[in-house]
Each structure stands twice: as structure tokens, then as C-alpha cells.
Assembly symmetry: C2
Homo-oligomer: 206 residues x 2
């Protein structure tokens, strides 16, 4: 009895579709029109059943408040949009999301961190950071203006290009180190601009 019928599933999918494409839930009449119903009651019946089955919510008496309830609802947290830059030239992300080339959307619970206006993402090129288990193609999420702790991964501006390094405190002095035996650099941090501190990482299947 708690199973959805074919028609009910169609209606649920349509409501979901509307929310995703236009961002707004359909009105009862719009649902009727879409399915060719000539009566409002038909829609009301379906909505009532879907609500009884716990897969749909609405605020009575108010327009367009239909909302599909997912089983994961109770776990879902806020989703943040983080701009993905191709490369960060000297300007730092002050002038904001103008030259973003993409967008990483992820919930803040999984990220373990509430993004700010100074949070951004970069795609990793090369394997200079395999020592920190970061590989080519990974997307790293960074926070600009954050004070790095010893051992943190940071993005630094080297030769007009963002490069990932490990931030180290050696006798109180900050240094940057590449995590790859082929590049055993150790650069005094003062000489460089630190663009951001790594706060997260996303990897997709190769």
C-alpha cells in the first residue's frame, strides 16, 4: 500500500522536474494541464495520496509549496557553490567569480567547512603533491586568507601560476615544500604569495 502507483510516480517525477528546471513547484492547475486532466480534484486526489505516503509535502493554503521528500532528507545539509578557477593570476580572488570556469557544488557537512566568499577550487595539474596523496586531475578546495598550520597544503603563486606546496614551520620560519622527490624545493614562504589553504578535495573516476 505504501508503494507508489505508476501514475503517482509520474506526478512525483513531474513535480521534481519542475523544481529542477524552473526552480519553482508547479501549481495544481499546471499539473492538471501537463497530464491533460480537466479536473482539479484529480490532482488533489493524487497529491493527497502522495502526501499520505510521505513522499510529498506542502504547506496548506499557500501557492506552489509542493515539495518532494527524499528518504535522505533528514541527512541532507546545505549545499554550497564554490567557484572553480582555471588559473589564478596575481590578482587573487578579490574581483570575485568573474573569470570562474566552473562551479563545485557540495554540501557543507561532507566538506566539513562552511565556505565563505573567499573559498575557491582549483584543478590539480601534475603530480607534485603525490606525497600528500593528491594526484593529477583532483579538484582541491581552498580558502583564501586563512592562516596555514604546519603541514597544511597551500596554493602559492610561482611564475605567475598557482602551485600546490606543503606549508612547514622550520624553527619558527615558514617554508614551502613540494611533495615529490623530483622537486625537493624548500622556499622561504615570505618570497611567495599564498593564495589559499586547502580545506577539501574531490576526485572523479579517471
Amino acid at each position: 500500500m505504501n508503494e507508489l502507483t505508476k501514475r503517482q510516480r509520474q506526478i512525483l517525477v513531474y513535480i521534481q522536474e519542475c523544481q529542477r528546471t524552473s526552480g519553482v513547484a508547479p501549481s495544481m492547475r499546471e499539473i492538471a494541464e501537463h497530464f491533460g486532466f480537466s479536473s482539479m480534484t484529480t490532482v488533489m486526489d493524487h497529491v493527497r495520496l502522495l502526501r499520505q505516503k510521505g513522499v510529498l509535502e506542502n504547506q496548506p493554503g499557500r501557492a506552489r509549496t509542493l515539495r518532494v521528500v527524499s528518504p535522505l532528507e533528514k541527512f541532507r545539509s546545505k549545499v554550497a557553490d564554490i567557484p572553480l578557477y582555471g588559473a589564478i593570476p596575481a590578482g587573487l580572488p578579490e574581483d570575485q567569480q568573474q573569470e570562474a570556469k566552473g562551479c563545485v557544488s557540495i554540501d557543507i557537512e561532507t566538506l566539513g567547512f562552511k565556505p565563505t566568499a573567499r573559498t575557491f577550487a582549483l584543478e590539480v595539474r601534475g603530480d607534485s603533491m603525490i606525497g600528500k596523496f593528491i594526484v593529477n586531475g583532483d579538484v582541491v578546495i581552498l580558502e583564501h586568507g586563512m592562516t596555514p598550520r604546519n603541514g597544511d597544503v597551500v596554493a602559492a603563486l610561482i611564475d605567475n601560476e598557482s602551485t600546490l606546496k606543503t606549508f612547514l614551520l622550520n624553527r619558527g620560519k615558514p617554508f614551502l615544500r613540494a611533495e615529490n622527490p623530483r622537486y625537493p624545493d624548500l622556499i622561504p614562504a615570505q618570497e611567495l604569495v599564498i593564495q589559499g589553504v586547502m580545506v577539501g578535495l574531490v576526485r572523479k573516476r579517471k
Copy 2:
């Protein structure tokens, strides 16, 4: 001139807040009530200005269609909710999101993969997979029922617990290998149940 005034920002934030908390945009009168306006025109004026400045959209003539436009709008793709299991006992994720302990929400563009009902996430314990640059605390996203390719990371059921291994084809025969010199196991894949193939990974700051 394209800057928002304090009042305009307040109204924009309120609209955003409504969408996030109740999932529905406020009506003009609800905005008026919230700010103590006794006239509808006040709200209409603000909405008109916010629309002119390109930070707000609405579908004329239809109720509750206010939508905040983000600068990242054009890059944003659909966000998928993936159940995060604490552990997967023998049953496999057939019985669905009942015993999920969390939810990973991420956009499908970043994930590089459109999740299905058989997609799930696991938290990595231990460093048996550091050879594949997967560390303790990482959240791996897996697809159940997918055929693994040579070298793919898979979750297998060992001693009633999900363990990550590398899937290898050795002279046509499938094997599972732990990516840690301390565990040089090489197990014929037939003896084990492969619960999923890794399709993504999320790491948060330690």
C-alpha cells in the same frame, strides 16, 4: 549603481533564506509582512530594482517564482544526494537508504558521473589504500553492480566488513590487492562479493 543597497541586500537574503528553510520562495505579501511594510508597492519596487540589477529573477504573473540569481548560476549543474553508509553488511544496498547514516550531496559535473539508485558512499578506515592515494577519513563514492576495469578500486566484503581493494586482471583472472606493502594480499575475486566500484572521492581537512 549596480551595487546593492542595504535594504536590497536584506530582502535578497530573506528570499534566499526562505528558499533554503522552507524550499519555497516567499510571496510579495510575505516579504512585506516580514519587513513590516504596509504596502505591496514597496516590495514591488525593491523586486523591480533587484531584477534590474540582475540578481533576482521571476516569472511574471505566477505565484512564488522569485529566484535569486547567483554569479555561478551558469556553471551550476544538478546536485545528487548519495547515501553514506556506516558499514555494509551482507545484504548489499538493495534495501535502500534505510540504514544510511549520512548524505553526500555533490553536483554531477564535479563527480563526472550521474549517480543511480545503486550509488553509495563509504568512509575509509585505515590506510590500506595509500598506494592509490586514498587515506584514512576519505569518503569514497561507489557504484554497485558496475563491472570493474583493471586497476579500479572496489569495495569487497571481507569478514562481514567492507574493505577497499584494487581490482586486477592477471592473465584474464580477476584478483583483489590491498594497496599497502604491509598487506600484500592477492585474493581471487570469485571468493568475494564485490559491493561497488569507486567512482569518486571526497576529502575534508583534518
